[in-house]
Symmetry: C2
Subunit: 354 residues, 2 copies
Amino acid sequence: MADHPTRPTIKTLSEVTGFSIATISKALNGSPVVTQATKAAIRQAAGQIGYAASLRGMSLRTGRTYQVAVLMPVASASGFEWDGVEYAQILSGIAAGLEGSPYRMSVHVVRDAAEGLATARQVVEGHLADGLIFSGIQAQDPRVEYLCAAGFPFVTLGRCRQNLTYAHVDVDSDWAAWAATARLIAGGHRRIALINPDPRLSYALDRIDGFTRAFVDAGLPVPQDLIMAGDLSTRFGKQAAITLARLPDPATGFVCVNESTALGALAGLRDLGVDVGRAASVIAYDDINASAYFAPPLTTFYLPIEDLGRQLGGFLLRRLAGEDPATLQQLTRPDLVARQSDRLERVLPWEGTT
Amino acid sequence: MADHPTRPTIKTLSEVTGFSIATISKALNGSPVVTQATKAAIRQAAGQIGYAASLRGMSLRTGRTYQVAVLMPVASASGFEWDGVEYAQILSGIAAGLEGSPYRMSVHVVRDAAEGLATARQVVEGHLADGLIFSGIQAQDPRVEYLCAAGFPFVTLGRCRQNLTYAHVDVDSDWAAWAATARLIAGGHRRIALINPDPRLSYALDRIDGFTRAFVDAGLPVPQDLIMAGDLSTRFGKQAAITLARLPDPATGFVCVNESTALGALAGLRDLGVDVGRAASVIAYDDINASAYFAPPLTTFYLPIEDLGRQLGGFLLRRLAGEDPATLQQLTRPDLVARQSDRLERVLPWEGTT
DNA sequence: TTCCCCCTTGAAATCGTTTTTATCCGCCGC
DNA sequence: GCGGCGGATAAAAACGATTTCAAGGGGGAA
């Protein structure tokens, strides 16, 4: 503050070089109307005195903010501290994707989808950012609808189920749920539970689809009663597992939506004395790589969450450059990381009781 | 974008009310030179047409950005995904602390302390924000030195050990380490390990101090050989626990710096067949409330990390309003959450072998 | 009644850019 | 040789606010 008397402006540069501020501006922005020699001289002088364009001035004139807004969902209730932990990695990825551009990242904390829409409106109407990134997409997502209608550039992590064209990055949840379920079926499990999040979420439906398809493919009845919808908390994972393992015809396989619920499921099964890895199997999505240290280590589908963030940032940059959103769509399949045995090793629950 | 033809500016408001833009500006900012009646009329009209001052315009004129920058540390290496997970809660807290003010939050991802200093410089010299918040304070912290010297408003999560006056929020790590260690000593443990982060971190030293004091208070020798310095990863927690438990005179008590290393320590001890809760005890700091679901559930010192974030935001607001940083300093003690038994229940390792 | 002062409001400058329009100059073609 | 054209740069307006300073009007005092 006291250090720099006044940082150089375009005017300073004008006095130094003798060119007018108009020429300077054009030169620095690479306008073709300026001579190569002039450009070189101006650029050289700019480097010399350490000139950097003021984002404020640019912003006022161009109407752009050079900011990208990210909607970060958090559940601030006690017991939900795990919620949103993957956002550290997502933000890191987005920042990496934005690197090299003049865009900075502003983060807006939202507590639910309604607040998400309100914040999106604020960002658009208040011109708080040039683009928007968000996740937690619902099958019918009002934010996507609004932003499409407003023509505001955005990229989402996840896809809604409406027929709208917009840039997005997504994980193939349908395939992952199918693969996890099929793996458990192949291991001898028949009573497989799906521990799923809020069914309004688009990927929750994808997971149900994949789960269902695995049974259909195997010619087996779909255990509809074992599909549990809840939140993403460890507490829910635990409660759900306990409920499912106590059924008259208990679940022996568990497909969990994330590491948080998987940890809960393990804790619940442990409390009931169920030996996971022998009498039951758990497969989860894996975002922060903790599953390898659980008891037992879990087989997971690993989401390279930081890479997804990087894609989000990169896509938004391209979207801001005017690229067609139809070309900015990507679907990735998570990698299977096999850790614990998913097979029932001859202690299927219905054996021994027969 | 296409929706709002042009959002109302101060000029629009001027045409609507008949007052000049100067009067409008003063009225909206509550200047005492404007009549109450005029103010009321202008405010009413502003509400009517939905006027909101453009941050861009304000920013250019006042030199303020109405942004608060947060330095978010991330380790993007594989295996370190857990690192920084608490930042979801911290950001949520900061946003809550900023609520009601015109300040928004921009997040700058930094990979190490050096990059942190570079980013801080960019923020200050490029006037990218009006204030700064960061954590991971080192005993000798170049960022703190720089910002103090520059006179730039900032608040830190943690304190350095230099004699500088600045606003900060901190956790009493000295006390927490002392209390955890004393609890294990009281439970009969003598070989207690401290699983600690990078010793350049200020709170790492605080923890060593508290750890040491607990032994001194009890009149016991300090087990210097059991103080392990590493990173905050689960992998390190596991490796450290294995090393410590394999010593000729093994550690039986473990004081872990966070939930990530505690999970690692549990995994390591489990691999060695050590029964935690009987033959060994683990006490950790707890930030995302996962410890209750570990096997066994851990006794922790719970950090209300979102509250700390809220304090950070609030303190920065007050600092920006000109408040003396000497009055903006806070130290909180984490709450003990007793879960697993910390006592050795008569199976001290040296009994039975005698 | 007249002058002055204070109280309220308005005009204009300013912040740092970009962009449109104007100006200057040399050169080509007729 | 002259008109016009085009290439290079400069001048000026604009973005939306704040702030300084000037102006206008009304009321009180002489």
